[in-house]
Structures are given as structure tokens and as C-alpha cells.
Amino acid sequence: MQYNVIVIGSGPGGYVAAIRCAQLGFKTAIIEKYDRLGGTCMNVGCIPSKALLDSTEHFHAAAHTFKDHGIDIPEPKVNFTQMIKRKDDVVKQNGEGILFLMKKNKIDVYTGVGSFVDKNTIKVAGKGKETTLTTEKVIIATGSKPMSLPFAPIDKKRIISSTEALELKEIPKHLIIVGGGVIGLELGSVYARIGSKVTVVEFLDSLIATMDGTMGKELQKILRKEGMEFYLGHKVIALENKGKEVVLKAEDKAGKPLELKGDYCLVSIGRRPYTDGLGLDKIGIELDRGRIPVDDHLKTKVDNIYAIGDVVRGAMLAHKAEEEGTLVAEQFAGQKPHIHYLLIPGVVYTWPEVASVGYTEEQLKADGRIYKVGTFPYKALGRARASMDTDGLVKVLADKNTDEILGMHIIGARAADMIAAGVTAMEFRASAEDVARMSHAHPTYMEAVREACLAATANRPIHM
């Protein structure tokens, strides 16, 4: 078959790119290795983890806050099998949804491993059969895989990655997590809420280290309250599956040893771009620290081949991949779209959520920018008190001279949804006072954003 565009990988970057290509009139095909479309995000990432986060949050509320709300129920118990099944159902429905979208847009779906024969020919190795496709353009969207420690490969039994952590058969008694980044903390908070003892070992001195420092500190405070334990600044030196338990050995910077024993160890030290079996050598593309090098238009060194999402530079985020997929498709149609990478929000789906956009305070300091800070705590917010979600704060960074918003960082209930307002404001280069002067409905969580902007404008929040 001859196509205008072939997309390899059906994650959020790949399938969005395919739909946009089809919308723009290109004859498009998409190749997926697994039986179900959607990639990491839909199958073993964002969606299933959010499904479990919500379930465990309901359980946590039933066990801890219903009483305060005046709801007396017998002590709730976790039906973990059902919890996992509901998650699987959500994933299945989403996968079917994407398949429907492919049909609707007349995109041909090929199941199997796609690899380059030459720059215009792709071989799809499916179950028992091989198909060869030709195309004018290719979009590589093969995503990423969890990384493992060099001395302790993921055995999928007791030493697990995020993929296995989403389909355990039992609630861990003690879950050890190596890596205090987004994935580790999201899954840690799932299990902490349904009764696991959770211990996090992190090499760096702070959690979610790429985000604004205040967020990591605040998150650690909140999660510690939930019973999670943290060993920051610790280097893991050994990890072993002893059959019925795992033993982790680490040491701090002074060399002081630490030994932890648990029934499972989640290794969440990051993800690596996944290009295995793609046959990049056939088209002369060499990787740069695992990633496919691309220019500003996401074009590889081969003229008709583009790459997006986790396999290229930048944050490994589903919505970043989606933007890139759209950009490449529109470029094919001669359009000139833009992506402001600074304004791609980052989100951590712990409870409470953490979300941020723009510069962190640390970056502004390093750049020598003259800035001012406005913060507002959830505690002072009527809406937050009404629903007993008083943990968290909003932090707004603005240029000291122009008052332009340079960064917005939120930790607290609904942060992931609220950050969209920060993105909008920054896309239009609003000042803190601009946002402060816009009416925000009462009582809402968004009032905290407005108050933080008032604080940044002239240190004059109303409710502090």
C-alpha cells in the first residue's frame, strides 16, 4: 500500500498526528506493536494510574473523612481485584475509543513491529505475517520505556516498573520506591492510600526535582503526613529479589548505609526513548543519548522522516507529544504552527495534584531575572475548607518591572485543571494584575490563583 504519511506508534503523539494528517487530507496509516492502540499513556501510564488514583482516593475519603462529613459506614475494605478490573475497563474503553477515531478518519491500522527498509518503505512484522508499506513521509512516535537499575533488572515479580505496579495481584505490605519523580510518587500515593507502607529512596535532595522547589517541599510535607517515608540524597547500591521479599541497600552522601526490606520494589528512575527494532540504521539516523535528533520542525536528518514525543528532546509528557504530532501534520500541509515549549504544563497526579507552567523560581534566579513572588495557601480558601482539601498553595512568579507572569505553580486539589488558566494567561503574556482584575467565581479553587496574582502584583491579597 502507498501512503502519504505513516505514523509508527499509536500513543497520544502518534494517534493525534495520524488524525490531524487525515483531517488535512493525507492518506494515513498507523502502526502499533501492541494489540491495543493508545501507547503507554492509555494502557500503562496516565489513564490507568489516574483510574487507580481516583479509586484509592474514594477509599481514603470513605475511611478517613466520611465521619467528619457525618456519614457513618462500616469500616470500608479494599476489593483490590475489583479496583484493578475497573481500571482495566477504563483502559479498554479508551482503547476502543481510539480505534473508533481511526476508523472515523479512515486511517489504516497495522498491528506489528514497524521498521524501516528504506526511507520510503516500512515493513510491519505482525503475528505470522509481514506487510510492506510505502509512504512519502514518516512520523516516528515510538515513545519510551521504563529504565532499570544496571545492577538490578526489572524481574516483573518483585522488582517492578510502573507497568507492573498497575496490575499487581495484591496490595503490597511495604512498597519500596526507587526514584522520587512523578511516576514514583503517583504510584506511591496510590498504594499509601490503600494501606501499603511506602518508602521512597531518591538520589537527589528533593522530590519532583525539575519542578519549582516549593512544590517538592510542600508535596513531601503532605505525603509524609499520609505516612510515606522519604530518604533523599540516597544512592541505591544494591537491590535483590530474595524470593519473598526484596532487599535494598543504599547510602547517603556521607556513606552512611541504609537497608530496606519490602515485598515489592518499584523502580521509577526515569524512562528511556524506545527505538528498538525500528531499523534506524537503515536510514542512517544515529541516536543522541538515546533520543532521535530533530530540528526545530521535528525533522530528522532524513528529509521525509519526522519524530515526536518521548523519542525526541523535551519533557516526556503526553500533551507535549500531542502538540508535536499536530505541528508535524500541519507542517506537511504547508502551515506554520508554533509550540511554546516553556508553556507546556507539567502535572503530577498525586493527591493533592501538582501542576506548573513557565519558569521555576530556581530558573529565574539562575537567569538573573528580576522577579517577584505571590503565594496563596489553600487553607485560606473557603472552597477548600468546605471540602476539607486544605493542603496546598498557589505560587505566581511575575516580572518585577512589567508584572508579566513568568511562572505559575500549584499544589493542591484540582491543580491539574487549574493550570490551564496559567497557560492561557501566559500565552497572552498577561500580567499578574491582569489576572487579578478578572472576575473569578466564588467559591472556587481558582480564587487561589487570583489571590496569588494579587499577592504578586502588589502584595495585597484580600483573604490573607
Binding site: 511554546h340 528580576i370 511575575a398 518585577k400 518591572n401 494584575e433 502584595n459
Partner: protein, 522 residues
């Protein structure tokens, strides 16, 4: 003491003037004799100067038409303000729409001296430079992005379709260039920003680093975002190939909205596109040799020339009449007196003064040739403002010799030299190029034997001079050889009849062939 400034009497027939432009803003500190406004009458544009130093209070706004004698502003004198230098940002309420935040008291101080951010950003926009000018081009940046500039220092050369002018810095501080060289900007378009500082740079011109600290109340203007496109607008502009600097943002704080982008006009083909266009479908080349083409964006001057010349061809009933002039008498007179003339007046005696004098005399006899059409009316001028075409590296310009009929030969010659020199240097003011009633063009300097010049609107006629060549002619039944110049008069037949145009040219010929007539007026 506050002094009122009235519209002066500018000419006998002028009863009212329009305030074309305020060059100073309300509240600005002005110096004595500094030009504060441009006034426009039906005949000319002139400048209004401040009668004394002080603070300007504007009473009549730009665009208002007021009778002669009206008080249009006041200049309040005070020892305090008089001592302050004009237009210092800290002493001056900001001109609209940029609003520098001045906060002298709460300034952070950089250790070791150096420039101190005064907390303000001055946005420099393209000033209104003349009635018909809608866009200008930045021809050269004399300062680099990030340079430290002082108030009134010349930072760029700007070119309009009529003139080149220099752009002085409107504040002291660090220059942030917005409009690149060779880009066209509309009037009011953002040229650059100046981050206002106090004091000169010690080492580098970077902003001081002051993390955190007390919040300074922000300006409500949010003008830092002027010219910044919305996400959709950015995409549209890029696809059209329009630079954001070329678009006037209508959104809050001058932001470029999607609608602005949709309405923005695409710029002419860029050189880079031209490069890619060349190799496509190359014709078969038999012989060798390079066959490159070069594309350049038309300058605003060239665009205006093009537009106006075509408009003249389309909108007037233009035709040309010819004659020949025996130049021998003028040449003899000239060679006889040129040394004495030079000695006495300090300028050479050229042909231009003879032609100008002859033309002025002929214009008096045939007023239609000196008239112009304005709507349904013919406007007759009882003075002769003679435009002379000057070729400059940038293109053709036509400065005006005012009241040429009242000038002596020497005065005309020196005026021609002055205007031609200024023209070649690109220094002519707009005023010096507006309002002629008749034009002369001399293709002869380039060797032209004969041409049909195009009228310079709204004028109705133009005289073309050509080269002087010795030709055999018959005179009193004998063939003689004498220096001859062919002359051409292109005229607008709507105003000027054939009898008048031909008679006018004959009159010019007669006076040049017998210069004594110039003295006698016959």
C-alpha cells in the same frame, strides 16, 4: 508665569489651520524655540515653536481645525521645570501609550555602580512624520541591541517614501531592538524598547539582578506585550510571512489578536524565497555563464514613486508639446559674466536660473499652467513654487524653490545647490518637498535628447530640459550651426488648453533666446 500660544498669522488668505501633529505631549518640558507642533493650512505645513521654556499644556487636540489667533496651548514657566532637561523620563509624565514606571525612591542599587533599572520601559513607536506617509522603513540601526543609549542620542536612520530622518532615543537606558533593519513599519508601529536606567554602564549593559524583594506596583498599561501575537495569530502571521513588527496590535496592551493577523497583509516575496524559486524549472541554457537574479524589497520611496506615476498616467489627461531653444544668447551671456557673478554672489551662474526666471515670467502670462485641480475647482496660484527633480541614490525627489518668481538669479542658483545637495544626502525635510506649483526636470544632465516627462501631481505641468547639442538650423535663409536644446512641456489637458501650453513654451523659448526680455518683461 504661563504663556499662551496662539495660531500666528501665516498668510493673507489663510483664515484657519489644522493641527497636523503635536510633536510634544501634554505635560512635556519644552525649550524655548523648540518645535512643538506642526500646523497645516490649505497651502502649506508649518511648525509652531515654543515662546518660552516650560511645561506644555495642550488645549486643542491633533486634527482640530482652528481659526487664526486661537490659543492652542500654554507653556507654564517655572524655575524648577526649566532647569530639568526636556523629555527626561523621570520628570515627564509618559507619552501615550507607553507608560514608564518611574520610582526613583525605591530603586535597587547595583553594587559597584553602573546602570540602575529605573523600573520603566520606554516603547519607541514610529512618529507621524507627514500627512501622506503611512509607513517607514528602518534603514540602519546605528546602535546594537543591548547597547546603552542616552536620551536624544541618534539610534537609527529611518526612511519614508519622502525623506530619511534620524531617530533619537526617547529615553536613557538599554536598547532592545524590535524592528529589524529593512523592515517596513506602519505609523505607530513599535520600533524598539528602551529599558530605562539611571546612570551610565560601568562594564556591561545588563540589567541588575535583584531577586525577590518588595513588589513594585505594575503599570496598568502592560505595554511590554505590545506587538505580541496570540497563539493563533502567530501561526497565521507566520504563514502569511508577515513580521509581528509590521502588525498594529488591537488587543489589550497592543497585543496582536487573531483578527489583526487575519487582516494583516502579506509582505512582498522575501529574498530567501527568491533563492528557492530560482532553481525550479530552469530554462535550457545553451551557452555558459551565470544567470542569477537578485530580488530586493522595494523601498518605501520607490513604492511611492511607482504608485504616484501610474496614478498620474491614469488620472490625468496628459500630453506633451515640444520646442527648440537656441541657447547661444544665454550661453554667451553666461560666459561673459560667470566670473563676476561668482565673485559677487559666491555661486556659479547656471542654466537653471535662466530657465526658472523664464518659466516664472511665462507662468504669470499663462496662469492655467500654474494651476491645479482640487475636486471640482481649479486652484490658481499667484506665486510660483518651482519643484526641481533631483536624482538621488534612493530615487527621485522633488524639492521646491519657494516663491521662485521673487528670487534673484543668484538666490535661485544657491537654492538649487542647497536643495540638490540635501536631496543627495537624503536630508530633505518633508516641508521642503511639498507644495510646488510647477516642476522642472533636466534629463539633459544624463544626455537625454528628448523626453516626455510625467506631471508631478497635483501640479498641472512640467518642463523637461535636455542636452545642448550643436545643430544646423536655418536662420534668415542661411544654415547656421548653433547650440540647441529641445524642451518639452507635459501638461494636464483638463486644466490647460493647447493654446496655453504651446504659447507658454514659446514664451519660455523667446525669453531664453533673447534674455533682454526677462528684464523688460515682454
Amino acid at each position: 508665569m504661563s504663556q499662551q500660544v496662539k495660531i500666528p498669522t501665516v498668510g493673507e488668505s489663510i483664515t484657519e489651520v489644522t493641527i497636523a501633529n503635536w510633536l510634544k505631549n501634554d505635560g512635556d518640558v519644552v525649550k524655548m524655540d523648540e518645535v512643538i507642533a506642526e500646523l497645516e493650512s490649505d497651502k502649506a505645513t508649518f511648525e509652531l515653536t515654543a515662546p518660552q521654556a516650560g511645561v506644555l499644556k495642550i488645549l486643542k487636540q491633533k486634527g482640530e481645525t482652528v481659526p487664526i489667533g486661537t490659543v492652542i496651548c500654554e507653556v507654564a514657566d517655572s524655575a524648577q521645570v526649566a532647569a530639568a532637561p526636556a523629555s527626561t523620563p523621570t520628570a515627564t509624565p509618559a507619552p501615550t501609550p507607553a507608560k514608564p514606571v518611574s520610582n526613583a525612591n525605591s530603586q535597587p542599587t547595583k553594587p559597584g555602580g553602573g546602570p540602575v533599572a529605573a523600573g520603566g520601559i520606554k516603547e519607541m513607536k514610529v512618529p507621524a512624520v507627514g500627512e501622506s506617509i503611512t509607513e517607514v522603513t528602518i534603514s540602519t540601526w546605528l546602535k546594537k541591541d543591548g547597547d546603552f543609549v542616552t536620551l536624544d542620542e541618534i539610534i537609527a536612520e529611518v526612511e519614508s517614501d519622502k525623506a530619511t530622518f534620524e531617530l533619537p532615543a526617547e529615553a536613557t537606558g538599554i536598547l532592545r531592538i524590535v524592528a529589524k533593519e529593512k523592515t517596513a513599519l506602519p505609523i505607530g508601529g513599535l520600533i524598539c524598547r528602551i529599558e530605562i536606567t539611571e546612570g551610565a554602564p560601568a562594564r556591561s549593559a545588563t540589567s541588575p539582578i535583584v531577586p525577590g524583594g518588595n513588589a513594585v506596583p505594575a503599570s496598568s498599561g502592560a505595554s511590554y506585550a505590545a506587538g505580541y501575537p496570540s497563539p493563533a495569530a502567530a501561526k497565521i502571521l507566520d504563514e502569511k510571512g508577515v513580521a509581528t513588527a509590521q502588525v498594529q496590535g488591537s488587543g489589550v496592551g497592543g497585543r496582536i489578536t487573531k483578527e489583526d493577523a487575519v487582516k494583516a497583509q502579506a509582505a512582498p516575496a522575501k529574498p530567501t524565497e527568491a533563492k528557492t524559486a530560482v532553481p525550479s524549472a530552469p530554462p535550457v541554457i545553451v551557452s555558459g555563464g551565470a544567470r542569477t537574479v537578485r530580488r530586493e524589497k522595494m523601498t518605501s520611496l520607490r513604492k511611492t514613486i511607482a504608485r504616484r506615476l501610474v496614478a498620474v498616467k491614469n488620472e490625468t489627461a496628459m500630453l506633451t508639446t515640444f520646442n527648440e531653444v537656441d541657447m547661444k544668447p544665454v550661453m554667451e551671456l553666461r560666459s561673459r559674466y560667470k566670473d563676476k557673478f561668482k565673485e559677487k554672489y559666491g555661486v556659479g551662474l547656471g542654466f537653471m536660473s535662466f530657465f526658472t526666471k523664464a518659466i516664472c515670467a511665462a507662468l504669470k502670462d499663462f496662469p492655467a499652467v500654474n494651476a491645479s485641480i482640487e475636486g471640482d475647482e481649479i486652484v490658481y496660484h499667484d506665486y510660483c513654487d518651482v519643484s526641481i527633480a533631483v536624482s538621488t541614490p534612493r530615487g527621485l525627489v522633488v524639492p521646491v524653490i519657494r516663491n521662485a518668481d521673487a528670487l534673484s538669479m543668484a538666490q535661485i542658483e544657491s537654492e538649487v545647490i542647497r536643495l540638490a545637495t540635501k536631496g543627495r544626502d537624503g536630508k530633505l525635510s518633508i516641508e521642503e518637498m511639498t507644495g510646488g506649483t510647477f516642476s522642472i526636470t533636466n534629463g539633459g544632465v544624463f544626455g537625454s535628447m528628448l523626453s516626455t516627462p510625467i506631471i508631478n501631481p497635483p501640479q498641472s505641468a512640467i518642463l523637461g530640459m535636455h542636452n545642448i547639442v550643436e545643430r544646423p538650423i536655418a536662420k534668415n535663409g542661411i544654415v547656421i550651426v548653433t547650440p540647441i536644446m529641445y524642451v518639452a512641456l507635459s501638461y494636464d489637458h483638463r486644466v490647460i488648453d493647447g493654446r496655453e501650453s504651446v504659447s507658454f513654451l514659446v514664451r519660455v523659448k523667446e525669453m531664453l533666446e533673447d534674455p533682454g526680455r526677462l528684464i523688460l518683461g515682454i
